[in-house]
């Protein structure tokens, strides 16, 4: 039931190249999920997220500081190795300096016909955030219009919003089945669906996702998942072998807070009247925040706790990409709050490749801690 999603995720570049050949359209690579894909879909451009490959590499040393996160280096390595050579453009929306460095080096060293830095505000709690982002999105729209040589109309924007909203709503529905006592998909399978969501034309992804959701509504299951219920949260994480390992030793990942995951699709654009660009801006200001933007008030924590409780997580694996400062700052407060609410936590630091053996013992010991089995 999920083999096509897996195929898309594993062969992301082949997919994008064939999409280009088939449609003759432009493909843009983006570095952060604060990029407003609605406007790109309105312009008939395919947005694909730039992600790493989890392979050791030796090409980014001259470009990125050693104490910048492994994810940003892994992303840039993909560009320097030519794996995204089919891209017509690249863009980023401001989140953190590390990923921005990957974008800056990419633009400097890899030729492309279009690049755009979108100054997404970090102080999203300011009353100026929505008007500021609205104005920035208008400028961005103009830049895209110039690039594609045509106007993006209100109807185009409505189309872009509909494409994104429908896909996000279906992901929401898919995730809701993970609240079941035995979720019909494993954490690994859910991650594959979520990853493919960021690589595939939503108009191809949505029908398949709809069919999956319909099958689950009818009681079908893709896999039986009765392990100890876990949440996984933290920095960017698309480490499928890690989730597979966790689920092979008795865990079931039922919910996440990752930008490949709920942070990406949790809320929709509310386009009931008013300026459509402003509605899009509101959606990005109000979405579950990346910790780089979650201040002065720390609003993520009640949201994370609600997710954990709604999905019945007994424990949470809190991961941080090495040197990921925004998450590092948030994690102690998250762990404290979770522990106060009887949700135990395991903290792990991720690199480009994770030491599966060393992590396995920690995960197994964590699951033993969560087990009720009375051997004492």
């Amino acid at each position: 039931m999920i083999s096509q999603f897996r195929e898309w995720e594993e062969n992301r570049h082949t997919y994008a190249k064939s999409w280009k050949e088939k449609t003759g359209g432009k493909v843009i690579g983006y570095f952060c999920t604060y990029v407003p894909e609605e406007i790109l879909y309105a312009a008939d451009i395919l947005p694909v997220r730039i992600l790493g490959s989890h392979e050791p590499q030796d090409v980014t040393e001259p470009h990125i500081f050693g104490m910048f996160c492994p994810f940003c280096r892994d992303c840039l390595a993909q560009g320097l190795k030519g794996r995204y050579d089919y891209l017509d453009g690249v863009m980023i929306s401001q989140s953190c300096l590390h990923i921005r460095q990957a974008y800056t080096s990419w633009v400097k060293h890899i030729p492309q016909s279009f690049s755009y830095y979108l100054p997404m505000p970090n102080n999203i709690q300011s009353k100026h955030a929505v008007p500021y982002l609205t104005a920035e999105l208008k400028q961005f729209k103009t830049a895209v219009e110039k690039w594609i040589g045509r106007e993006i109309t209100n109807d185009d924007l409505k189309k872009g919003i509909d494409i994104m909203n429908e896909n996000r709503s279906l992901m929401h529905k898919l995730y809701s089945f993970r609240k079941n006592e035995a979720p019909p998909v494993s954490g690994e399978e859910a991650m594959q669906v979520a990853m493919s969501q960021q690589m595939v034309d939503k108009r191809e992804h949505t029908p398949l996702l709809k069919s999956l959701v319909t099958q689950f509504e009818g009681g079908a299951v893709n896999s039986v998942n009765k392990g100890i219920r876990l949440m996984i949260l933290g920095s960017e994480d698309d480490d499928i072998p890690f989730i597979r390992m966790v689920e092979s030793v008795g865990g079931t990942v039922v919910i996440d807070d990752h930008c490949v995951g709920t942070r990406y699709f949790w809320n929709n654009v509310n386009a009931n009247g008013g300026d459509l660009i402003e509605s899009i801006a509101k959606r990005y200001i109000e979405r579950p925040a990346c910790p780089s933007k979650d201040w002065i008030e720390r609003n993520r924590i009640p949201h994370l706790l609600n997710l954990a409780k709604d999905f019945g997580a007994k424990g949470a694996i809190v991961i941080q990409q090495k040197f990921c400062d925004p998450h590092e700052l948030d994690i102690p407060a998250i762990i404290k709050k979770f522990n106060e609410n009887d949700i135990k936590t395991l903290f792990l630091e991720f690199d480009v490749t994770v030491p599966i053996g060393q992590f396995k013992i920690r995960v197994e010991a964590f699951l033993e801690m969560l087990q009720e089995e009375d051997l004492f």
Binding site: I361, E364, A365, E368, L375, F376
Partner: protein
Amino acid sequence: MAQEFWRWKEYNWKNENIDWKGGSIISSGVDVGSVSSQAVILVDGELYAYASMRTGSDSPLSAVNAMNWALDGSGMKLENINYVVGTGYGRVNVPFANKTITEIACHARGANLMYGGSVRTILDMGGQDCKAIRCDEKGKVANFLMNDKCAAGTGRGMEVFADLLSVPIEEIGGLSFDVAEEPEPVSSTCVVFAKTEATGLLREGWPKNKVIAAYCSAMAHRVVTLLDRIGVEKDFAITGGIAKNIGVVNRLQKELGVETLKSKYDSQIAGALGAALFAKALVEKERK
């Protein structure tokens, strides 16, 4: 052949006062660690026999050897043992294990018997890693942390220093106090760099004992940072091979300001002992 100063003594032990044939539950734990392997046999929860040996390149063989040595001379055979729990890095390589449980859970369980139910914090200083474990009055793990960057502060690091300084490993702890004044610790982030630094100090004319003191101090300091992250609640106990090294333990106590509990049991068998206690509980559960 040159003397191998790192080589610690392998040993086995048997409780001659127990007649295993009269026992109802014979349970065993086998802890195949990265450096040493232990097998423990309990008769109705009482310690009957154990053996501790160096882990070879073949983990299943190390488990078999440790078990055979623990059984040696007892008349007991493997088939007389009701249940075996495998633990340690090689836990999946114990060919005759009925179940595997992590060494983190096993050390907490073992320490609970060895040091009593008042133990709340355990530091397991093993061959290639360190674990700080918090547990409840039953020995159930409440929280834990492991070192994850390097092997400094572990038994393997101490073996490297024993060889470098040509001092038998069992003598290191005592000699580390035979110094005029306590030196600054050596670099504590990497065994290899620490060794490089120690070589430099020897060239500068430092006596061996002073270098040993500097390394013991570095090792103690390193594990204190691990313990600080998890918080030390009394009572506090140390398990694993390094618990036998007073050069590290005394400095650790001083830096923490907390005394460690003493036990009549061998600190190195904590993991296998915990595994054997779990094995007993699993037999009782099956028989219910």
